[in-house]
Symmetry: D2
Subunit: 110 residues, 4 copies
């Protein structure tokens, strides 16, 4: 099955053995599996022509769940990756901050 | 497989044979299937310990896709259900507006 | 003093003697005056170089206050203007719904 | 005139002579002054009973302007305050990250 997710980006990331969220990996996977289930549940609701407002309520819940995963990952990223880069200093630190700020802007605006 | 989605709500909706979105049902199902694929793609990214920022970018894209489905459903709901209730008049019309406003508030705040 | 707000739009609106929010006009004005005060307070915080995080907390509070005014106005608009147009029927009703949906999309995305 | 803004918080911040945004202080003040003008413009629109949808459009523009100020301040804060704390290390660095993450969560949810 083809998946619409673009996963090729940022080769430079591949050589990191550890990204900050590793400790909670199982917890993140469980949350994302639940979100996948919500997406499937929404399809059943549309298939069965459930009441629009009830579908919208489910979408709001799913959006909040996604947002919460994003905020967790961002906190992990700041705690590990950005702090490490800042401690090392130099242009890498600046680049990490710019990259994190851009990701935060996308979250705030989405 | 158990699904975490709560689908029992609003019995009164069941007896509507037609909810406004029926015309676009196939299109909505395709969009939700794609969103389900994005949720699965996120799990693979976490499993493979992809770079946090790339995962956040995917989450922003998925949030926007969900938001766009919600806005489409809401427009359909206003166009059909709310307009019909308003044309019929009476307390039902008021109740429909209150219900739509509450759903809009949840979307704006999620 | 010059104000950056664009107020010329929609001549067709001018001839409505009553827009739905009239009943709460004083309450809306009081809320907007408070929001204006928050904008002035933010300037003093920047002027005095207060701590960034405290300024961000104030901005979040002000954004929520604005959002809440918007949701109130939207509910008033749906209750009065949209319901009246729907009761009258015809292309005007459709146009009102499209216009309301576009405003909702702007709120959800802002 | 009484202002509703709470400005007393975080004594510990007072002893910082420099908060990161100082370089752009004039630019931030100009943007906030413009936002204050938008708040005043909204009051005139309500006073004059302008069309609801036009008022909502202005509120969306004002929300975006506020959001953009917040993202700028947050970037400045990460670039200066958080990077400095990270370079110094220790529990202070962790505390700064937690504080920044909480502020980001408030922005994303507001």
């Amino acid at each position: 099955m083809t998946e619409p997710v673009d996963e090729q980006a940022h080769d430079h990331a591949q050589d990191h053995a550890q990204h900050g969220y590793i400790g909670d990996k199982k917890a993140y996977l469980a949350r994302l599996k639940r979100i996948e289930g919500q997406a499937r549940g929404l399809q059943r609701m549309v298939e069965d022509e459930k009441y629009c407002i009830d579908i919208l309520t489910q979408i709001s819940a799913m959006t909040k769940a996604l947002e919460s995963v994003a905020l967790g990952l961002l906190d992990d990223h700041l705690t590990h990756c950005v702090v490490d880069a800042a401690a090392a200093g130099g242009p890498e630190a600046d680049a990490k901050i710019k990259e994190a700020s851009a990701a935060i802007a996308r979250l705030v605006r989405s």
